[in-house]
């Protein structure tokens, strides 16, 4: 089953604008990750934020995590046409032992950046 919801389901912006995507989840987590998927093929890891972190940056990406609200946001600054893709949040849920690769994904946000 899906962990939670992503908002919006689709986002269309112009090159140079910022894009913000939100993710909500339901359970306690070890970490939350964001992945990107082009044209329905393999996913690429973008950034990981641990449950004891509130904000993280990587290049043009900024991720925030609010564990009290069980929500996260991904900000892409100065977007480019090449950023057009689907973006998924994924949670590593707290439970017994090490997950070794079990993530629970959201439904995704389709981002379109127009040149």
């Amino acid at each position: 089953s899906q962990q939670g919801e992503e908002d919006p389901q689709a986002l269309s912006i112009q090159e140079g604008e910022n894009a913000t995507m939100n993710c909500s989840y339901k359970t306690s987590i070890n970490n939350l990750q964001w992945y990107r998927q082009n044209s329905g093929r393999g996913l690429v890891h973008l950034i990981l934020i641990r449950s004891n972190e509130r904000e993280k940056h990587s290049g043009r990406l900024r991720v925030t995590l609010d564990t009290s609200k069980k929500s996260s946001s991904l900000l892409i600054t100065a977007s480019r046409a090449a950023d057009t893709a689907s973006y998924f949040c994924a949670t590593d849920e707290k439970g017994g032992g090490t997950s070794y690769g079990k993530l629970t994904f959201g439904q995704g946000t389709i981002l379109t950046v127009h040149p």
Partner: protein, 111 residues
């Protein structure tokens, strides 16, 4: 180093048939996970293997099975295929189990 490789890239089967999907992890990665992604949705966890042992199983019927070999490659088997099994099947490997590296997937169509 090569990334995660999956074969075949596309597959067409008919209902009731059996299918085997294959995955080779990144060299040095001992953890392999399988995910199913139906069109328009996020990937859904099927199995995870670490050091050739099953460490987790998602909410899938017993028609789905998997195994991991001594070289850490993996196979996903699906028996008695249903139309609803049509999806992109993704394999991911990881070093410490946090960040996942995905293959390009196998697109399975069941007619």
């Amino acid at each position: 180093d090569a990334g995660v490789t999956q074969s075949p890239t596309h597959l067409i089967k008919t209902r009731g048939q059996h299918v085997t999907l294959r995955c080779s992890p990144i060299s040095g990665h001992k953890s392999v996970s399988w995910y199913q992604q139906v069109l328009g949705q996020g990937p859904q966890f099927i199995f995870q293997y670490y050091e050739k042992e099953e460490r987790g199983r998602g909410n899938f019927p017993d028609r789905f099975s998997a195994r991991q070999f001594p070289n850490y490659s993996s196979e996903l088997n699906v028996n008695a295929l249903l139309l609803g099994d049509s999806a992109l099947y993704l394999c991911a490997s990881s070093l410490q189990g946090e960040k996942l590296f995905f293959g390009s997937g196998t697109q399975l169509s069941v007619l």
